[in-house]
Symmetry: C2
Subunit: 93 residues, 2 copies
């Protein structure tokens, strides 16, 4: 499945959360990652994140898409530094 | 359609981009918004953003979902300040 991950965590845990995310997903922009994962991989990513964050102070949201058939990605401008997506528009159709 | 918007723009334009985004979508986390839009509304949002950003310095990505049938949102922790989503897990099924 296609997974988007977006986080808003205390600065103390930003690096840890990003490091975990990067083990599974591609870093697209600040606080935002995406990638194709198996259900088992997602479970493991979720568990690692859950152990790392403080639920009162942090928030991590996952968008799980069981298919990318109905998804279009439309990009304006250029990814900066860490982001590695040269394409301007990707249609999964 | 369901639209996710994630931006990484020069600090000079952050407020402008967020302000435009908020006219159409709900602000979920830093640099991240989502909401249900008609194709016409999306076109208008995209146009406003395009006019505002500098493509060499900024990047705005839209994820367009023609259906939310295959989407699950899974949230860990608590949204901070501006984010207004009390729910911990939403399944569109």
């Amino acid at each position: 499945m296609f997974v988007l991950m977006v986080y808003d965590v205390n600065v103390k845990r930003v690096n840890k959360v990003l490091k975990i995310g990067r083990k599974y997903l591609q870093h697209i922009q600040n606080s935002f990652l995406e990638g194709e994962l198996s259900p088992a991989q997602f479970k493991s990513l979720r568990q690692e994140i859950k152990k790392t964050i403080k639920p009162e102070e942090d928030c991590v949201r996952f968008y799980l898409l069981r298919t990318t058939k109905y998804l279009t990605i439309d990009q304006l401008g250029t990814p900066q530094k860490s982001a590695a997506r040269p394409d301007t528009s990707v249609d999964f159709l």
